[in-house]
């Protein structure tokens, strides 16, 4: 039989915990709950995924470490705090992702290219300083484990920023103007779950592919520019 223990997809959910998300903490928690429960109820998908949930603000804090959702007994809790530092996000991922991949390999797994889902409700408050770590993170010659990044903007987040963050133009989404933010958050997690479930099936099929579903109430950011 195979020498390896299978191929895993590491998936990182980066949720904005800045102060402006305060009114939507309930929606954020509900969304994370439905994501985690949705994966737990799909054990064949959960077995092929390792989910991490990171809250970002002035820094990045781990709400769920790379987990097999079948073995988790609690749900991640978000904490509203501080500003919106994209630099903190990408500097963190630049360290975290290679280390996680190395760890998973050490456990005997092969690893698909990691995927990052970023949900932000505002423009970065740290100006342009995030572009350097972002460039380094997404450059596959510098970072062999460079992730695919899907960026979803709600509220004040702008389409052009989402397009800069996402690794492909088709991976950038913004909520339609006038959309209720709570509903947009809910839709983000809904499509995230279905994308991961579909990817979990597709990555192990004869024609592996990452599947990204557009959240309801969102448009592709590329259509906005």
């Amino acid at each position: 039989m195979s020498e390896t223990r299978g191929v895993l997809l590491p998936a990182y959910v980066l949720a904005d915990e800045s102060g402006s998300m305060s009114p939507y903490l309930g929606d954020l928690s509900d969304g994370l709950t439905s994501l985690c429960e949705g994966l737990r109820a799909e054990p064949m998908v959960a077995a092929k995924l390792r989910l991490a949930v990171l809250g970002f603000s002035d820094d990045v804090q781990v709400r769920l470490a790379v987990a097999d959702m079948r073995t988790e007994s609690t749900l991640p809790q978000m904490v509203i705090r501080g500003l919106t530092s994209y630099k903190a996000v990408f500097e963190d991922l630049l360290q975290r992702i290679p280390a996680d991949v190395q760890w998973l390999r050490g456990e005997g797994y092969k690893v698909h290219r990691p995927v990052v889902f970023l949900l932000s409700d505002g423009q970065p408050t740290d100006g342009r300083s995030w572009r350097s770590p972002h460039a380094q993170l997404t450059d596959r010659s510098q970072t062999p484990t460079a992730p695919n990044i899907i960026a979803c903007g709600i509220g004040d987040a702008r389409a052009d920023t989402m397009l800069e963050v996402a690794t492909r133009p088709e991976f950038a989404f913004v909520a339609k103007s006038g959309t209720d933010l709570g509903q947009a958050i809910s839709e983000f997690f809904h499509s995230l779950t279905s994308s991961l479930v579909a990817s979990g099936h597709a990555l192990n099929s004869a024609s592996p592919q990452l599947v990204v579903n557009r959240p309801e109430q969102f448009t592709m950011a590329i259509d906005e520019v």
């Binding site: 985690c36 073995t71 988790e72 007994s73 280390a99 062999p144 192990n204 024609s207 592919q209 599947v211």
Partner: protein
Amino acid sequence: MNPPRVPVVEHHRLTLGGQLGQGGQGTVHEVANRRINRAAGGGWDVVYKEYAAAVLPSLQPDALLARAELVGELNAADAAWLCEKTAWPAAVVQRQGKTCGFLMRAVPDRFRFDFRTLHGTGSTRRLATMEYLLNDDAYVAGVGLTVSTRDRLAVLGDLAATLSRLHRLGITVGDLSPKNLLFSTSPQAECFLIDADAMRLRGTTVLPQAETPDWQVPDGEEKATGAGDVYKLALLAVRLIARDQTAADPDVLSAVAPALADLARCSLDTDRKRRPTPALWAEHLAAAVATASTVPAAAPTTAGPGTGPVLQTGRGPGSPRPGGPTATATAPAAATSGSTARARGWSALAASVAVVVVAIAGVATTHSGHSGSGSAAAATSATAEPAPEDTGFTDPADPDADPADPGLPDPDDTGDPDPAEPPASDTPEDPPTPDDPVADAEVGSCFYDRGTSGHADLEATDCTDGAFKVVDIFRGTTDLDACDDVDDNDESVSSSRNDRVLCLSYQSSGGTAYHADQGDCVYGTPGGSWGTVSCGTGNFKVLAAYRGTGDHTKCTSWPHYNEWKTFTVSHDSGLDVLLCLSMNYPDDAGYATQRECLLKSGSGGQATFTNVGSCAASNVVVTGRTSRYRAASFCGNDGWTTWEPTDYPALAYTVCWRST
């Protein structure tokens, strides 16, 4: 006489309710205005599966219609059974005369369970798919299931019996996977099969045969055969007991019943000729159920954050996962295990394995190189990947994949083309020839098979040693299992072009004893040809006949075993035969052991010794035994009886006895 009811419904006549599920092949909806089988307590709820637009071009509407019509063609008992065990297509649905889906019964409620959520605010009703059972006990109990090892074996036993009957009806499951197998443990352990439209019926399929990742038959093997179903049944057996989604080592079954481990090993053989029947699985599972543990999976004992096992298999605590505050790892809860079989029982179990191994030699499912493989060539893993229409967009091939990082495959670089598809180069090499051996074959014709595994390449020849002789022909079918009950069948060859199946019997240079079964008597001189003979003193009784092996150590546990015979086939060890043999001695003295009581009748050279099962009813007791002939001095002053077979002097004996 009423014309047969044509099971076709126009889409606009359906009142659809909510969507119940979505997959790569289509979506399933509730149907509000239809019932199936009203005779059964008001009937069954109906659901509608609509095929995705992406799969319609490869849909075979006639094959779907044939499924809907099957229920009316079967006898009442088979029809009722089929509808009880599967979500069999009941009617074809069309839009303006074009097939777009079908109706089937809704899943019976006993195949659902209350899925317990983590945050403890209740539960959701979900289909009880087998996938939930292929995880450690903490997970199983955590999602709200109460399942013991006995339940697992009993569900598996019901599945084995179900497969056996499906195969008899000309149905093979094909994509047997934990996603389309449902289970119930109450009121009794049983299974229910969904995605029945994907099953293969009499060689036809509605959509190209697909397989689930980690649930594929060996590379190059034809999909959706009976032997393929048995392969996957064995995977399921291993994984249900291992509580793991990808385990494949049959040893895990030894703790439950050694016979099951042995059966799984045969079933996972890449040579499908060596795989046993589902009926044999059912038989052994029934035996294993009787002794298996009834203790259900333990509920999670840890409620603290993140203290569940990080690793999914029992390799002990892993290294802590990085980056988290919750990095402790505990070993999975120990699985309950069943008792092991007794030594004598093992012999008895091995006996029935041997019997059925003979029977399954008929599943030697090569298919003709001439068979029309158009549908197979179109096969894709349609169910495994979401159709483009279902998704926003996909990440297509990454042109800039990093070659310097081979250990990190891109999502698009781990795939390989469908291994079951014949290479495209087959087609030009394989034009129809004027003398088509399959079309011209008659019972009694002989062929050499020049083909490789999975593909026969028949060449007509005289009926000499090393040839295959046609022992039966089934017309109007390509079902390779048709030969299962044909005597001496070793290989089945189907041709869809000729719509027939040839049952072939290997002509061994070793003689007709090659096809001997357990209980037959055989004889041959050492190194000579062996034939099947009527049982009598001096010839051998077949204790067990093993196909596909020459390993005579398999014989050692058989009572009265004292000789073995192998027939080896140099170009195909799958055709090897091992016979475990027992000499037919003149009377019970031959196998008597010291202190055994016997009834001696007659006297002198005419004396006969019989084991009557009771010392009180006997008149002599055995005082010694040697394998030398006429060893009178060995017996001292005791009486003795002696015998020697002409060709096998090593099997001679002198047995000493004393009157009681």
